[in-house]
Subunit: 381 residues, 2 copies
C-alpha cells in the first residue's frame, strides 16, 4: 500500500520474466535514453479557463451578498502528466476573471524544466506582481498536484501527516432571517460543527435561531463586523455560554490594539482571518491573536500555507484551515494540511451546485483524505 | 531525469509489449495482491552498531581536546529497502555508545506499518525520553533516507530546493600553536571559507596565524569562551576589520542579556549554537541572536531542522547548517537543507580517516548534492 509504483514495478518485472535485468541496464543508460526521448527537455505548460460557481443559497456575510463566485481553473502539463489548480475570486477581495487572466498571461514557465524546484518557481511567480494571491495560488496548487503525481504520493504523506488526525469540518450558515437560518441548520444535519456568520446587528438572533435547532459546537465569524471592543468582549462571554469554540476576525483588521486587548481578555480564542494573508502578516500579527485561519487563496498556496502552519504551531497558536467558495480542487489541496490543524472550515464544494472535480470527501462530518497522489482529485465525467 | 522510476516504468512497459495493459489491471487488484504478498504488513525494523571515528588531527575547542568521536550507525529496513542513520556523540554533550544504545533499545517500531507517518513516529521517538537528541536524530535520519528512497527522490527535491544554491562549506581550524594553525591553514587550501575556533585566550594570535597564510573569508566560533561583553564587542570590531563574517556563540548561553546587548551593538552577526538545540529554544532565543547554527545532532534530526530553518527564515534570521564530527551519513542528511541556508559548516567527514559512506561531496569548496534518492549516500565497499 505504501509504494504502489515500486510494487507495480516489482510485479511487472516478475511478470515480464526475462526483463528482470532491465533496471540495471536502463539505470546506466537512463541519462542518454531520456535525453534522446526528450524527457530532459520537458517543459511546464500552463493553461487556464474561467468558470463560474453557482451557489446553492444566496450567501450573506457582514459586508455583502452573492449567488455566484468566479473561479479560474488552471492546468500545468509536464512530461505527460497534468496538475490541476484553481483560483477563487470572491468579488470583495479585488480579483476577477479579468485580473487573474491578466496575471496568468504574464506567467512564462518555459525557463523551468524541473517542477520540483518549487522554491524557485514560486518565487518567480510571486515576483511577477504584488497581491494577486488567488492567481498565485492557482499556479502553486497545480504545481503541487503535478509534483505529488511525479512522487506517486498525496501531499499529506509527503509532509508526513497522519490522515486519521483530520478534524471535522464546519459547515457555514450565512446571515439571514431566523426562518432561513433554522432551515439551513436543519439541512446542515450531516456536519458536526457549524460556522455562524455574525456582524450585521442580529448576532444574538442568529445564535438563538441555530440553538433552537441544535446544540452542536459552533464557530462564529464576524468578518470585521464589530466596531467596539467592549461589545466584542461582552459578546465573547455570551457566546462562550452558548457553546461557541472561537471568534473569528471580530473587528476591522486595522484596529490592532483593540483586537490585542480583546485577545488578552476574551474567554474564547480570537482567530485572525482578514488580518493575516501570508506568513509575513502572521509574523507581524502573532501577538494580537490566539490563532489564524489559513486559506490558500489568501496566502498564495500550499507551500506558503505549510510554512504558516508550522510557524503558528511553533508558537502554540491555534490553526484553522479554511477556504473560499471553491471547487473540490482548491479545497482538496488545503485538506492535506488539516491533519495538523486544530480546526477545518472546508465546506466550499458543499455550497455549490456545479463542482467539476471529485476530491476530498466529508464523511460523517470529518475531512477524509484519499491515497491518490498529488492533491488527490479527478475530473468529474 | 526528473522521474527515473516512472520513466523506467514507461520503458519496461514499452519493452514488455504485451504487458501494456498491466498497470490498470494491477491497479485494481493491488490491494488484494499486496495483502497476499505481505506488503501491507511490512514492518519497520531498526538495527544499530557502535563505531568510533578516528580524527585526522587532535581537535581542540574552548572546552576540551580529543582524537576520536564515538558514533552509532543505525539502519531501518522496510519492505526490502534500507534507510541509513547516524548519531554522533562528542563527549562533552553527554551522550555515548552506552546512552545511545540504551535509548535505541527502548525504540519499538513494530506499531508502525507506514514510514510516511513521520509526524507520528518521530513524536513517539521524542516521547521515549528527554534529551538524547543525537539518538533521536539517528532514527529521524534513517527514516528520511527510507522515505526518500520510497519516493525515489532526494530530500532537497522533496523540499523543493535548488541544488545550485548550496553554499560553500567552511573548514574548521581548531585552537593550536601558531605553527600548527599555519600548517592547517595551508592544508585547507581546497576550501573557500575557514571557521576558526577561538575563546582560549589566544584569539588575536589565532587570527593573525591564519591571516599570515590566507585572506579567505572567516567564521569564528567562540564556543561560549568569552566571559565579558565589552571584550566580546571590542573583538567583534577587530574581527570585522580582519575579514570575519560572523561570531558564533561568543559567550555562555546563560548570559542572555549580555548576548542580546552584544547582538544589538555588534558590527558582525551573532550566531547561536550551544544556546539553541531545537525549535522551542529558537522561539525563545530569537531576539538575542542574529542567526542560528542548526545541527541535526542537537535538534533531533531533519524534520525538526527543516522546521527551524523555515522559522528562522520567516524572521529574516541568518541560518547556518552545521555538523559534529560525523560520517558522510549525517552530514549528507544535513546538506539537503543547505540550498536555503546562508552558511554551511559541513566539514565533518573531512576531519576523519574512516568514513563508511559515500555521500555529499565538497567540490571546489561548495556543498554538492547528488540526485540519489533519500539522503543520497551509499556504503563504502
Amino acid at each position: 500500500m505504501e509504494n504502489p509504483r515500486r510494487k507495480f514495478l516489482k510485479k511487472s518485472l516478475l511478470l515480464a520474466g526475462s526483463l528482470y535485468m532491465a533496471p540495471k541496464v536502463l539505470g546506466v543508460k537512463k541519462g542518454k535514453i531520456s535525453s534522446k526521448l526528450g524527457f530532459k527537455t520537458a517543459k511546464l505548460k500552463l493553461t487556464y479557463r474561467p468558470y463560474t460557481l453557482d451557489l446553492k443559497h444566496v450567501f450573506t456575510v457582514a459586508s455583502n451578498s452573492r449567488t455566484t463566485t468566479p473561479v479560474m481553473l488552471t492546468e500545468i502539463e509536464y512530461d505527460g502528466l497534468v496538475g490541476y489548480g484553481e483560483a477563487s475570486m470572491p468579488p470583495y477581495l479585488g480579483e476577477s476573471h479579468e485580473t487573474v487572466g491578466k496575471f496568468l498571461s504574464k506567467v512564462d514557465l518555459s525557463n523551468f524544466t524541473n517542477p520540483f524546484e518549487l522554491e524557485n518557481i514560486l518565487q518567480y511567480i510571486d515576483n511577477i506582481d504584488i497581491n494577486n494571491t488567488a492567481a498565485k495560488a492557482s499556479i502553486d496548487i497545480a504545481l503541487h498536484d503535478l509534483v505529488g503525481k511525479l512522487l506517486g504520493k498525496p501531499w499529506f504523506r509527503i509532509w508526513g501527516y497522519d490522515p486519521l488526525k483530520t478534524p471535522n469540518t464546519s459547515f457555514t450558515i450565512g446571515i439571514d432571517t431566523p426562518e432561513v437560518v433554522k432551515q439551513k441548520t436543519i439541512e446542515a444535519a450531516p456536519y458536526k460543527i457549524l460556522k455562524v456568520k455574525l456582524g450585521k446587528g442580529n448576532d444574538k438572533e442568529m445564535i438563538e435561531s441555530v440553538r433552537a435547532i441544535t446544540d452542536k459546537p459552533l464557530f462564529v465569524d464576524i468578518n470585521q463586523g464589530w466596531k467596539d471592543k467592549q461589545y466584542a468582549l461582552d459578546m465573547a462571554h455570551w457566546l462562550k455560554e452558548k457553546g461557541v469554540l472561537f471568534v473569528e476576525q471580530p473587528m476591522p483588521r486595522e484596529l490592532i490594539d483593540d483586537i490585542a486587548w480583546l485577545t488578552a481578555h476574551s474567554p474564547l480564542p480570537i482567530i485572525a482571518d482578514e488580518a493575516v494573508q501570508g506568513l509575513a502578516d502572521l509574523v507581524k500579527m502573532r501577538g494580537a491573536y490566539t490563532g489564524v485561519n489559513i486559506k490558500l487563496m489568501k496566502c498564495t498556496g500550499m507551500r506558503e500555507a505549510h510554512k504558516m502552519l508550522e510557524f503558528a504551531k511553533a508558537y502554540g497558536m491555534k490553526v484553522m484551515i479554511g477556504c473560499m467558495t471553491e471547487t473540490s480542487c482548491a479545497v482538496s489541496a488545503a485538506a492535506h494540511l488539516s491533519p495538523v490543524a486544530d480546526f477545518a472550515d472546508l465546506d466550499g464544494p458543499l455550497l455549490i451546485n456545479n463542482d467539476v472535480f471529485n476530491g476530498m470527501k466529508i464523511v460523517e462530518g470529518k475531512v477524509t483524505l484519499s491515497e491518490q497522489p498529488g492533491i488527490g482529485i479527478t475530473k468529474k465525467e
